[in-house]
Each structure stands twice: as structure tokens, then as C-alpha cells.
């Protein structure tokens, strides 16, 4: 009995050798329970050890194995071969990012943006430990919880044509994480994040195409975070015009 196979068309690119990425076809055994990442690991193990790609946890938590699968940004550990039968399956590096090698993209730009929004809890003054923990009600937790599910896989950036056209755009995940901390009742750092968010290449660059939220593998809604941040930034502006003597930026 001949075993079923499936073909993967995989992007290859090596600096110094290739002027631009090219596709290489690999035929691998088809397995009902295999995901694209399994097929890539089979290729690296059995066919061509020089194929480069990132992966770690294989369970949709680490966010390293994002690639374009048939043109759609996916975590390859969650993209089953059986959903793309009979193939071929095109596997490319995440769109809109510089390619380092084969399927490996450079995340430098995203890491930069992430740092700029200060995605951590900022307090004016830390409370002494003796005073106990910072308490939160279920409703206060609900206000930010979905945004805290982001795993920095940057699929949302690969789905965002605005980021493709304007690389300065702060983008979906960084805004979602800024919003996550702005909405946290323990946080007092809104005023530090607001200038980055309200910048012309901050949330105002977004045209609300909304595909960032469609491709998110963790159910985060970055498009909502961006639109709500626009509302907050517009409110801040109106407040600064109407009440120039008043303090800017509330607790959002």
C-alpha cells in the first residue's frame, strides 16, 4: 500500500545567496494528526537540515511558529495538514516583516514598539508589602483580561495592510497590550502610554480593517483595543481644549 503524501511549497531565502525569496517544494508523508509544523520538522529532520524556522512549545502558547499558511497568518502548530488536503500547502514567512532566513522573520521592530508602550504595571508609589495585595473585582479583571491573552506571535501584524504600507505604525499587538495595562485597575501609567498611542503613527494610523482580530489565535480583539484607544485619545484632546487648566488623561 503506497502511503499518502502531501506537498509543501516552502519559502527559501539565504542572505548572500538569494536576491529574493523563492519557493521550494517538499513532499512529506501525510498523517491525519500532523500540523504544518510537524511537516516542517520532518523536512528538517529527513530531507533538508538547512531549512530554518522558529518553533518551541507546539501547543499555541509560545507564539514562535507563526507563518503564512496558504496566504493566511497562522500558528503552524495549530494548522492541520488535513484542513489543506490534498495540497499543495504554501508555507511562507509572516507577511510585512523583514525575512532573515527561509521562514524566520525579524521581530526587532515589534520588540521596539512593545517596549515603547511600557507593557507593565506602573505605580506612582509602590505600596508596602505589609499592606497586602492589590485587590481586583471580577469586573475589574474582565475589563482587561482578553487583552492579556496576547502571546506576541505577531500574526496580527502580518494581517495588517496598514503595517505593510507604513512600518512606523504602532500596530495591533502593541496597542492591545498598552490597552491591557491602561484598563488594569492597579495601573497608574496611562499618561506615559498616551503620547505613544495618540501619535500620528499610533492608533490614528489604523483604518479599522479588522483582520488583526480575525487572525488572532488567542481570541484577543486588537482592533477593539485600537478603536477604544482612539476614543480615549479623542476624549483627552477634547478635554485639553475645553478644560486647559484641568489634568489630562483619566483612568481608562
Amino acid at each position: 500500500m503506497s502511503r499518502e503524501t502531501i506537498t509543501l511549497e516552502v519559502t527559501r531565502y539565504a542572505a548572500g545567496q538569494d536576491r529574493e525569496p523563492r519557493l521550494e517544494s517538499f513532499t512529506v508523508p501525510y498523517q491525519e494528526d500532523w500540523v504544518v509544523l510537524d511537516a516542517l520538522n520532518y523536512i528538517k529532520d529527513q530531507v533538508d537540515g538547512s531549512l530554518s524556522f522558529r518553533w518551541s512549545c507546539r501547543m499555541g502558547v509560545c507564539g514562535s511558529c507563526g507563518m503564512m499558511v496558504n496566504g493566511v497568518p497562522r500558528l503552524t502548530c495549530a494548522a492541520f495538514l488535513r484542513d489543506h488536503r490534498p495540497g499543495p500547502i504554501r508555507v511562507e514567512p509572516l507577511a510585512n516583516f523583514p525575512v532573515i532566513r527561509d521562514l524566520v522573520i525579524s521581530m526587532d521592530d515589534f520588540m521596539d514598539k512593545l517596549r515603547r508602550v511600557k507593557p507593565w504595571i506602573i505605580r506612582d508609589a509602590e505600596r508596602p508589602v505589609a499592606e497586602g495585595e492589590y485587590r481586583q473585582s471580577p469586573a475589574q479583571l474582565d475589563a482587561f483580561k482578553q487583552f492579556s491573552m496576547c502571546i506576541n506571535c505577531v500574526l496580527c501584524y502580518a494581517a495588517c495592510p496598514v503595517y505593510g504600507i507604513e512600518p512606523l505604525f504602532l500596530g495591533p499587538a502593541a496597542t492591545a497590550l498598552a490597552h491591557r495595562y491602561n484598563m488594569d485597575s492597579r495601573d497608574e501609567g496611562y499618561r506615559f502610554r498616551a503620547p505613544v498611542i495618540a501619535d500620528s503613527v499610533g492608533v490614528w494610523e489604523c483604518t479599522f480593517i479588522g483582520e488583526c482580530s480575525v487572525v488572532c489565535p488567542k481570541g484577543v480583539d486588537p482592533a477593539a483595543a485600537i478603536q477604544r484607544s482612539k476614543l480615549a485619545s479623542a476624549t483627552d484632546w477634547a478635554r485639553s481644549v475645553l478644560m486647559p487648566w484641568g489634568g489630562r488623561g483619566g483612568d481608562r
Binding site: 475589563a143 494581517a159 495592510p161 480575525v214
Partner: protein
């Protein structure tokens, strides 16, 4: 504020093709929504011309009505109406994403916010329609 990350030698920097908006149904829907503005802008120019002609007297008004009765203008208005409705529907759907309504500790479900927006739209349209029907 933001500074571009300087390009690194050896990396391949992809360019977004001009046909990017054909790649996903969501992109096409976005472009359709953007294009609605062109039709609505033309409709508004026609409306301004209508007001001007109405002010110029019955003959000018009748002449304009004659022009607008041509098949081309009727087709345009049907298309503009379809786009205006599409734009309105997507706009009201967006309210559920953008506007978080809190009542004390509770957050209103997005469906209720969207439903409220649609209900407001329908009531406003009905009131305007009733006004014109009542005036004959």
C-alpha cells in the same frame, strides 16, 4: 516620536503588492466600505445642486428633475443607496466593538449596544419618512 528601525543588511524587506486588497475577503469588504464615500460625496453634490435649482424657481427645478430621471442617474442613485446602507450597517456594527457601555460594575453586552444603534437608526428613518408622508 517613532523612529524607523534602520534596515539591516542581508534581510529581505517585502513590499506590499498593489493588489493586496484582493487577498482576503475582509480586505475587499474594507475597500468596498472606503469606496462608499465617493458615491456619498457625489450624492451630496447632487443634493446641493438640487437646493440651488429649487431656489432658482419652478422651471430650473423641473429641468433638473428631467435630467435626474435619466436611466444613468437612476442607476447611480440605486447604487449610492446600496452603498449608503452598507456603510451605515457596518458603522453601526462597529459601535459594539468601539463603545463599551458600563452600568456600575456591569458591562452591557455588545449585541445590545449594536441593537440600540440599529433601533435608533430605524426610528430616526421612520420619523423622517412620516414627516414627508404627512406633508404629502
Amino acid at each position: 516620536m517613532a523612529a524607523p528601525t534602520p534596515p539591516r543588511p542581508g534581510l529581505y524587506y517585502p513590499k506590499l503588492p498593489a493588489t493586496w486588497w484582493l487577498k482576503r475577503p475582509g480586505y475587499v469588504r474594507f475597500m468596498l466600505r472606503e469606496i462608499t464615500s465617493v458615491f456619498i460625496a457625489i450624492f451630496l453634490v447632487v443634493l446641493l445642486v438640487q437646493i440651488r435649482r429649487a431656489g432658482q424657481g419652478p422651471e430650473a427645478w423641473a429641468a433638473l428633475l428631467g435630467t435626474l430621471a435619466s436611466p444613468g442617474w437612476i442607476v447611480f442613485h440605486v447604487v449610492a443607496l446600496a452603498f449608503a446602507i452598507y456603510h451605515s450597517i457596518t458603522w453601526f456594527q462597529a459601535t459594539g466593538v468601539v463603545q463599551v457601555v458600563r452600568l456600575g460594575e456591569r458591562t452591557l453586552p455588545a449585541a445590545l449596544v449594536v441593537g440600540g444603534a440599529f433601533a435608533g437608526w430605524i426610528v430616526a428613518s421612520a420619523v423622517i419618512l412620516a414627516f414627508f408622508v404627512a406633508r404629502g
